[in-house]
């Protein structure tokens, strides 16, 4: 019996965002957009979903005069991501 995969992470864009954030301290919206190749609207929606579940936190601020949105993975997000990867490995045993 295969373990159930976290439906919130089992989505292409959300998984890509989590994969990026799992390896860095924090990343801003522009960087995530560049790395994933997603549109701003689509990325915003997925970031909101991850934020609402408590997997990431979003902080809005400024870099000089430009607005800057910074995303950071939470401890719960790290744990969920690790569990997701462990569950994926079961599929290949």
């Amino acid at each position: 019996m295969f373990p159930k995969l976290d439906p919130l992470l089992h989505s292409e864009l959300r998984l890509a965002v989590m994969s990026i954030l799992a390896g860095v301290d924090e990343a801003d919206f522009t960087y995530l957009k560049k790395q994933t190749g997603a549109t701003s609207g689509n990325l915003s929606v997925q970031i909101d979903k991850l934020t609402n579940t408590g997997y990431i936190t979003v902080e809005k601020g400024f870099k000089g005069k430009m607005p800057r949105t910074t995303c950071k993975i939470t401890a719960a997000g790290q744990e969920a991501f690790s569990k997701y990867v462990e569950a994926l490995k079961e599929y290949f045993k």
Binding site: L15, S19, A22, G23, A27, V85, L88
Partner: protein, 191 residues
């Protein structure tokens, strides 16, 4: 990238691996520009001081070393100002810490040697510079950088004890060129 695309377990794992690797490469390639900046600056400053000292016979030109952080830090800040903010991973953070510690040691020891306790600054700086370069190679898992750092530190120490006067500065020029090469290796390694 679509948010609702159905993925198999294999596709998910592939996506995680590819995203992780691409992110790591981009971050380390982004760090390379600081090696290029400090390498170019060290090469230029050491050569200028060497030429001035050689042509005038005045070692006081060594005070120009303090121009290096004065030019380098604002330039480094400017380089990151107009681009997408590059996130930091563990390796890029460690690289930054290693070279910041080197910079702090080099500037403080130079200031102490000039004002309080005379010491063989070239010998000390070339050793810790070799050490910092070696550590960078370890962090980047690159043997060429590790060996180059080792040779710079050990060779520089021998050079500093056997060659006197302005000729010692040429080893810093070599160190600057080594930083430039390290930056280029990183650009190529994480292409």
């Amino acid at each position: 990238m679509e948010q609702n695309k159905e993925m198999t377990a294999s596709e998910s794992l592939q996506l995680i691996t590819e995203t992780f690797n691409k992110n790591r490469k981009d971050i380390l390639r982004g760090s390379a520009k600081y090696f290029l900046l400090w390498g170019a600056l060290l090469t230029a400053v050491s050569l200028v001081i060497y030429l001035l000292w050689h042509n005038t016979g005045k070692p006081q030109w060594n005070f120009l070393w303090f121009a290096m952080p004065a030019i380098g830090y604002p330039l480094a800040a400017l380089m990151g100002k107009y681009k997408t903010v590059q996130p930091q991973n563990e390796v890029s953070k460690m690289l930054s810490y290693v070279w910041s510690v080197f910079g702090a040691f080099a500037v403080t020891l130079s200031a102490i040697a000039i004002t309080l306790v005379p010491m063989h600054v070239t010998l000390i700086i070339v050793i810790i510079m070799g050490l910092a370069e070696c550590m960078s190679g370890v962090l980047l898992k690159n043997w060429a950088i590790i060996i180059a750092g080792f040779l710079l530190g050990i060779g520089g120490a021998v050079f500093a004890m056997t060659v006197m006067g302005e000729a010692q500065l040429l080893f810093f020029t070599l160190g600057g060129l080594l930083l430039l090469v390290t930056g280029l290796i990183m650009k190529l390694q994480y292409k």
